[in-house]
Subunit: 450 residues, 2 copies
Amino acid sequence: MRLSRYFLPVLKEDPKEAQIVSHRLMLRAGMIKQQAAGIYSWLPLGQKVLRRIEQIVHEEQQRAGHIPVLMPTLQSADLWRESGRYDAYGAELLRITDRHERDMLYGPTNEEMITDIFRSHVNSYKDLPLTLYHIQWKFRDELRPRFGVMRGREFLMKDGYNFDLTREDALHAYNRHLVTYLRSYERMGLQAIPMRADSGPIGGDDTHEFLVLAETGESEVFYDSEITGLKFGDREIDYDSVEQCQAVLEEFTSRYARTDETHDEAVFNEIPEDRRRSARGIEVGQIFYFGTKYSEPMGATVVGPDAQRVPVHMGSHGIGVSRLAGAIIEASHDDKGIIWPEGVTPFHVGIVNLKQGDASVDSACEALYRDLTAKGFDVLYDDRDERAGAKFATMDLIGLPWRLTVGPRGLQANKIELTSRRSGESEELSPADAVAKLEKIYQPVFDAAK
Amino acid sequence: MRLSRYFLPVLKEDPKEAQIVSHRLMLRAGMIKQQAAGIYSWLPLGQKVLRRIEQIVHEEQQRAGHIPVLMPTLQSADLWRESGRYDAYGAELLRITDRHERDMLYGPTNEEMITDIFRSHVNSYKDLPLTLYHIQWKFRDELRPRFGVMRGREFLMKDGYNFDLTREDALHAYNRHLVTYLRSYERMGLQAIPMRADSGPIGGDDTHEFLVLAETGESEVFYDSEITGLKFGDREIDYDSVEQCQAVLEEFTSRYARTDETHDEAVFNEIPEDRRRSARGIEVGQIFYFGTKYSEPMGATVVGPDAQRVPVHMGSHGIGVSRLAGAIIEASHDDKGIIWPEGVTPFHVGIVNLKQGDASVDSACEALYRDLTAKGFDVLYDDRDERAGAKFATMDLIGLPWRLTVGPRGLQANKIELTSRRSGESEELSPADAVAKLEKIYQPVFDAAK
C-alpha cells in the first residue's frame, strides 16, 4: 500500500477521552473512531489488525478440528427463556422489540443458539465429538463502557462450543481448547497465562481465564513466578491424544495462578516467598466446562451406545478478538507509539523514502516495494512528499516492527537501512540483503499459518 | 475435510417452509438453519460459501484501490437525524433503546456513518479520491421476510462509499465500481446485468442495479438480448484510467436493460422485435451516484485547490453477500441439488470411497486427499461407511463441481473416476492424471485470486 493512497488519519495530539495507553494509541494511530459509547468503527489500520487476529484464531481452531459456523447477531428471546437466562442476565443484555412486537436480543454469547442447532440436527453419539465455533459481533450493554475496545459494548469474539458424550470427553475438549489458546496467543506475540477463574453467568465449575500481564489490567492476579517461564513454542501435538492435551493442561495450570475472584491467600503462601507475585492482568479469553447445564433444560440429547438418550456434555470457549487489539498494545508499546509483534502487524514492513522525487531514490523504493510484495509481504510505502522526521514519527506511532529507510547518500554505496522498531537498532544493508533478512525474520510467522 | 468429522446435516425430505429452490436446497444441504423470521445461522457448508463470496468481493475491491474498514452494526440515532433519515426510513429500520434510554438503530446501510468518519478526518482535496468499504451484517425489518437468505432481515452486505472533489471524479468512481462488480460476479460464475434502476431511500439520480436472470427473481426485467452476450472476461484494466472505465460502462449499459421500475415501453419497442426480452431477475448489487445529498447536510467538506470549502461528491455501492449464496443456487442447480461454480464452491472436489475399509481403496483415497490438499485444494473426503448410492446423493445435493470416485475394480487398473457435476460426464484416469486435470480446471480460479 502506498501511503499517498491510503487512509491513515493519525492524530498529533493525545485525545483527552482516552484513559489508557492502548485506547490513546489506537485513536492516535488512526485505528478506530468512536461512534457511540463503547461502539467503534475500525479504520483501515485497525481493520487490518483485527483481521490478522481473527485469521490466527481461525487457523488454530481449525488445526484442532473445530468447525466454523456463523450464527446471527440477533436472537429470539424465546430461546433464552428456555435456559432461564432471558430474565437472569440483567441489564447488560440488550433487549430489542421488532416491528411485530416480538422480543429479540443482541447476543452477548451463544450457548442457547448453538444448543438449538445441535438438538435440531444431531441424534447419535456416533456424530460426537463435535466442536463448532464462530467469530461474530456481540453486544454487552455495559453500564460504563471505557478503555476503548478493551471494554466496548459491541465487540468481536470467537466463541466455540464442544458437544461430547461423557464428562471425560468434554474435559478432553477443554484441554484441547487450552492448547489452541496457548498457540493462538503466542502467535500474536502475547504471553497469556491460564488462571483459575470464576464462571460468572455462563455457569460451570471448571474454568480458566487467560490473562496478559499489564499495568492497566482490570483484574488483580496472583501467581507463582515460575509460570512466566513456560512457553508452548513450536512443539507438535496430536489434538486427538487425550494424554498429550492433558499433559499440556497440567504443565500450564499446576502452578499457582489465580485472579482475585478465586485467590486463596493460604494456598498462595505455600509458594516460596521469592516466587510469589501479584500484578494486574487483562483477560483475553476464557474456557468453560459446564456439563449438562444447557443440554438438559434444552433437550440436547443423543442416543448412546446402550440405546439410551442422554444429555450431552458441553463447554464453551471464548477469545476476545477485538479486545486483543487493545491488549496487545498494552503489552507492547513505548513512548513513541505501538510496537506490533510480527504475527499481527498490519503491515510487515514500512518503506521510508527520504527524498521523494529523486529519481534514484524513488526507483529504489519502487523496486523494494514490488519485490517485497511479490514475496508475500504486506508493505506500507511512505511515498508522501514529507520531511523525514514526520515520516519516522508516523512509522513509530503506527508501530510496524521493521522499517526500511532509503536515501540518496546510502544508495550511492548500494545501502539502505533496516531498523527494528522494538530495539531501535539499525543495520546498513544492500537492498537484496535487506529483503533476505526480512524473509528470514518473517519465516516463522509465515510458517505458523500453514 | 473428512466427512466423518464434519458437520453436514443434510435433510432427506424437502422442508415445507421453503417456497423457492435456493431456500429448499440450502436447508436440504445443511447450509443454513432459521433462528427467527428472516434470521439464519450459517452451518459449516454455508459458512464456507459465504466466506468465498466475501473473499472475492474483498479482492476485487482492493484491486481497484478501495480501502477496507469495518463499521459497527449499531449506530446512534442522532447521526440519522442529521441526514433526516431517522424519521423518513420507515418501519424497516430496527430502532433500539439502550439501558441509558439512548436511541440507537441496527444499521441497514452506512451513508451517515461513513460521512461522519470522512468529515472527522479529511480536510483537503489532496486526500481525494477516497473510497472506503466494509463487509458487515445489516438489518432490515422486512414486513414479510421470505425466500431464505434472499430476503432475510439480518444480511451480510458489502457497502462502499466514494468521496470525490467533483461530479466528474465521482462518476469515474461509479464506473470503477461497475467494473469491480462485473469482475466479482463473473468470478462467482454469475452473469449479472447492470440495469437502469430506481434509487429508493438511498437517493440520487444515477444508479444501476445488477440483476441475475432467474425464474424466481422478484423483479420483472426488460432487455435487449444482445446484452447477455457481453462478458468482461480476463481483460486487464487500469482502474485509474477514466477512459477505460467509462468505456466499460458504455459497453455494458448502452443496450436497453431496465427493471420494471424504470421500464419505458416506447424506448423498449425501438429494439428489433426478435431481440426484445422480458424475464425475471434477482438483484445482487446496486451502485449509486448521489452527489452532495449527505455531504451537504452533514458538513462533509474539503478545502479545494482554490482554498474554498466545498461539499464532496459521493456515491454508494452495495453487493448483497449473503443474498448471493441464494442467487447463485437459483442460477445453478438441477433436480439432484446445487451445482456450485468453481469460484465459490465450498470444497473444490469431493472424494467418494466406494469401499471404506478396503486397504487399497482407503490408501488410494488417503493419498489423493493428501496430495490435493498439499496443492491447495479444499477437499471433502467421504470416508463414511455408507452405500455408494447414499454417498453420490450427498455429493450431488451439496453440489461440488468435481467428484473423484475410487473403487477396488478401477484401482486394479490404476484408474479412478473424475465426474463433472454439471455435465454428469465421467472420465477414467490414473490418480496422477486426475490431479493434474483438476489443477488445470482450477488454474483460472486460483489465478483470479492473485
